[in-house]
Amino acid sequence: MVNRARGVLSFVGEVGETASAMWWSFFDWLAQVPLRQLVVTWILAFLLACTPALHPEQAAFFLLLSAGLKILAGGKRKAEIEARKAAVQAGSESLERRLVEAQMSALQAQVEPHFLFNTLALIGQLIETDPPEAAKIHTHLIEYLRATLPQMRSRGNGTLGRQIQMARSYLAIMQARMKSRLAVSLDVPPELESATFPPMMLQILIENSIKHGLEPKVEGGRIDIRASVSGSVLQVDVQDDGVGFNAYAGDGVGLTNVRERLKLMYGTRAQLLIEQPMDGGCRASICIPFAPDIFAKP
């Protein structure tokens, strides 16, 4: 008994709430509607209210006609809105694409002069003290430039194996310079080397790790590069035990470029993840759809 009474009460309450919401939405509408529209609406409403009393059968016809008109007009308006939305979206997307392309070409020309000059200074020194080592570093530098300078980039650059090879060259140079301050490990299963992987992304992550994580750290540290596949996702990690991440530091040209390019190439199917493990350092991961051979479309 009590329950039913309570049910009725809550139902009445709901009806009351709905009514008040409708009343207030009407009130809002009244506040905003232009005066002319209000007059026309008022006359129409007045006629509508009077006709049933005077001509019942005409009233029914009138109701039917207005309902039909409303449906027709509503459909047309909806189509118009959809079309406009699509046009705006297409416009902004093509604009974004052009913007990203512009930024990319700017970035591609970037080989850090500091790195280049320091490596050349090292080679110059090694020529005197250790010529075979100098020749090795020299070869690594050529390898690095071949992959980095946009004019030199060849079509075969788009595989993980090629990117790893380039990373090895870069890391070998950095190890020759930083000596015991830099330890490196690479764990990439050979069967993943033919997988499609966009150029320069791994390189950007590694350079970031060294520049922001390890170079500022007095005792240096290590950098681990791993690639793995789970399901249809290829994940490449670059992890360091450096000084970690400053939340106020800007996103930088490099990471922004990686993120934008991933979005452009794979939409939401790819991801750039940046994490700080509990035991310090920083881990950056790129996850893209796994395409085992170079003929597969990204």
Binding site: L116, M178, V218, F245, R259, T268, E275, Q276, P277
Partner: protein
């Protein structure tokens, strides 16, 4: 060459570079005694305090303290020579400020000239180069106090606990923040994260041109806004890209979208 036996400390984070400089110095100035070598700025200061050298060679880019920061602490005790492979701004400043500097790889003739200049100055008090150093520090974006922390600007990364790690989410990836009881929900195109930072704290820390407060419980990234519409009740509703959620604009904030 009957000079008093001068002492020097070499500071460079790259061991091969120290080797090279040591070798060249032996050739250019055989009487010079290398009393210590440092691998970073902090070590350089400590060793300088211990050995009281006449001269210190400082690489500019070093971990711990940069060469310029270290020089600020040492310049009134010994003669400073900077070494660098590539530091565009610094080199310009050196030339204007008449500071001694060497370019890597160190050229023997150039080093001999520098050593000659140092020899003539030994025994005199080192030049007061504080003004130039302060200028240099400002140009290279460091605070003159010598602290290596750059001025915090705006928050660019949101930290969210995911499993055993802190996920760093770039503010450029965030679509909006919504207050969600005790937590704040961070919405990205990929998913959502809960963080403990309150909306008020976030609003104070992020770039106000990047995020707008449109509602008591919503902070939206301006770039992510796809469109603003009015619903039947006349409320402005914001739709962001890559999310089906509609965000209400409260009455007090409708001025944000007046012309839209």
């Amino acid at each position: 060459m009957t000079q008093p036996k001068a002492t020097v400390i070499i500071a460079d984070d790259e061991e091969p570079m120290r080797d090279m400089l040591r070798k060249r110095l032996h050739e250019a100035w055989p009487e010079l005694e290398i009393v210590a070598e440092a691998a970073n700025g902090i070590e350089a200061i400590a060793l300088a305090g211990q050995h009281q050298p006449d001269i210190v060679f400082l690489d500019i880019r070093m971990p711990g303290l940069t060469g310029i920061e270290a020089a600020r602490m040492l310049f009134n005790r010994c003669h400073i020579v900077f070494i660098t492979a590539y530091d565009q701004y610094a080199i310009e400043a050196f030339e204007q400020g008449a500071l001694d500097y060497l370019l890597k790889p160190v050229n023997l003739d150039r080093l001999k000239t520098a050593c000659g200049r140092l020899q003539s100055r030994l025994g005199k008090t080192p030049n007061n180069i504080e003004r130039q150093l302060t200028q240099l520090l400002q140009q290279t974006g460091r605070s003159p106090a010598g602290a290596a922390t750059p001025q915090p600007e705006y928050l660019h990364w949101i930290q969210a606990q995911v499993g055993n790690s802190l996920r760093m989410i770039s503010t450029k990836e965030v679509l909006f923040f919504r207050a969600d009881e005790k937590y704040t929900r961070v919405q990205t195109a990929q998913g959502e994260f809960l963080i403990r930072k309150t909306l008020k704290e976030l609003e104070d820390e992020v770039d106000p041109n990047e995020f707008w407060r449109i509602h008591r419980s919503t902070l939206v990234r301006v770039d992510a806004i796809a469109e603003v519409t009015r619903d039947l009740r006349g409320r402005q509703m914001v739709r962001v890209r890559n999310s089906p959620e509609e965000l209400e604009v409260s009455r007090g904030n409708t001025h944000l979208f007046q012309q839209m």
